[in-house]
Symmetry: C2
């Protein structure tokens, strides 16, 4: 009888771990540094050692452990193979095969944004649903799509790369991906801050944002104070994101749209600006598709990893 | 041992049938009128009678028949329930349950555009793939998405309604769906003809299209003759469709994009204009995603219906 599983969210700085029971209760949570030097050769052995230590510490029986779910910050195939993950120093790596050899436990893997969506579906903002569109508004814009309870990985692991939907023909700057006009350039924390700076530079109009360090947080805090220029930035953000989400729901028709990442901490006011532009552009049967804020924060990864194993 | 199955593509004018073996070979193909009067009460009984007649005609044994797959021109749930299908006169209808009662055979159902995508994946332009994005450019723009061999139906049966992705903020006309700026308004036969008329009205420049009935076919035939105004229409068409497809591949990352419908008869020249705008806007790992033309024409529906049953 399987009673437990491990989730391991591999980031560029730390690996976050969780020990879960079958119902998604976290029994232990810890992290270790990610040693990316020497092409990240130590990462998986470090993880295996840490897992073995916890097995001993909690007096677990190997037969009771269903496996180890992991996520990585980059594309990974459904059979756990990474072609190249710059953030971890990895070239080609058979992640799940190696981890199973090192731990003696079954392993499954996914991309971090996709796995976070699975976690939010299981225990977070998308709880109770099987078809979830999650968008993460952080330094960049990531996404994860869950169809009928399963991650949509895609042919090249690019399923859910919704930050790179083309939304604008005018912008001259390049996106991190090399294209121009990606959603990420307008809906990420970086993009919102850039739009904030641009709007202040383009006018003499007073604003509470002047003289402060520009950030997405400053913009939405200023919106709450009724600052007119901040409201213009929020409108622009809402227009790009709302219309792009409307397009995505015409493709995917999810049960719920979950918005996470640092920018989403602005809360309900952010949803208001997104919905305002989403609603008129959404296909009729998806106009009332609910929006929710993500609930698991930085733990979405370990929850999703556990769900990979628990199925 | 199951050897055969039926596919039935229910349209507003006729129901098209196919009798298939397990390998997708059509053994018989026929059609009957769709009697939509009296809220379409005769449609399913007419179909059942026609199927029974064919079973007798071919001397089939009921035990050898795997079932009847059907598609309908509108949303339908995965368990075969239609909320309302205007084209057929139907209100709420439990399509598969009724058909099974009438025929004594198992039944599965799907939306026509989605089922056509499944057919193209099985035997047509998407053959050999399990993840297919199909777009149908006809009077309107329809679509069907196959993920890991299964139709993406969505929460309200609106999965693959890619004709209603919002792509333009300027247009004043309304789309058939009630919104403004849908892809369908620029990439359908109707939309291409409208753009053709607009461009002729806006200039005195000579064009082989002048004095002829405007249509998508006339536009692409004129492009082949090097007509400058026709080329401008094709560029506009390619820009809207190519960018929208790039956005969709960032979401879905399909193995192949299949383009069907009447407009696709223009052939490779149409793909050229779409690819030209697709490529720069597509996310890096999807820039080389192949395009193919649909191959099954009006038979895509019956093939897809058969595949619903054969799994």
């Amino acid at each position: 009888m399987k009673k437990y599983c491990f989730g391991a969210d591999i980031g560029g700085t730390t690996v976050k771990f969780g020990l879960f029971d079958q119902d998604g209760i976290v029994l232990d949570k810890w992290e270790i540094p990610t040693r990316t030097e020497n092409e990240g050769v130590a990462i998986l052995p470090d993880m295996a050692a840490s897992i073995k230590e916890k097995i001993k510490e909690h007096g677990l029986n190997m037969e009771e452990i269903a496996g180890v779910g992991v996520d990585v910050p980059g594309p990974i195939s459904d059979d756990g193979i990474v072609p190249h993950t710059a953030n971890l120093g990895w070239g080609y790596k058979e992640v799940t095969r190696e981890l199973t050899e090192l731990t003696g436990l079954p392993s499954k893997a996914g991309n971090d944004a996709n796995v976070a969506a699975l976690g939010e579906m299981w225990i977070g903002g998308g709880k109770g649903h099987k078809n979830v569109l999650m968008i993460t508004l952080g330094t960049g814009v990531g996404g994860g799509i869950v169809v009928d309870g399963k991650i949509l990985t895609g042919a090249h692991g690019a399923g859910g790369e919704i930050g790179h939907i083309h939304v604008d023909d005018e912008i001259q700057d390049c996106c991190g991906c090399g294209n121009q006009g990606c959603l990420e350039q307008f809906a990420s924390a970086t993009g919102i801050a850039r739009m904030g700076r641009e709007i202040l530079e383009g006018t003499e109009q007073p604003s509470v944002m002047r003289g402060q360090d520009m950030s997405a947080k400053l913009v939405f805090d200023s919106v709450k104070e009724g600052d007119e220029l901040a409201i213009q930035v929020a409108e622009r953000f809402g227009s790009y994101l709302g219309k792009a989400l409307a397009g995505m729901t015409a493709v995917l028709d999810p049960e719920i749209i979950v918005i996470g990442g640092g920018v989403s901490k602005a809360g309900d006011i952010l949803l208001e600006y997104v919905r305002k532009y989403y609603q008129p552009c959404a296909f009729k049967s998806t106009k009332e598709t609910p929006f929710a804020l993500a609930e698991l924060g930085n733990d979405a990864g370990i929850y999703g990893c556990a769900k990979l194993i628990l199925g």
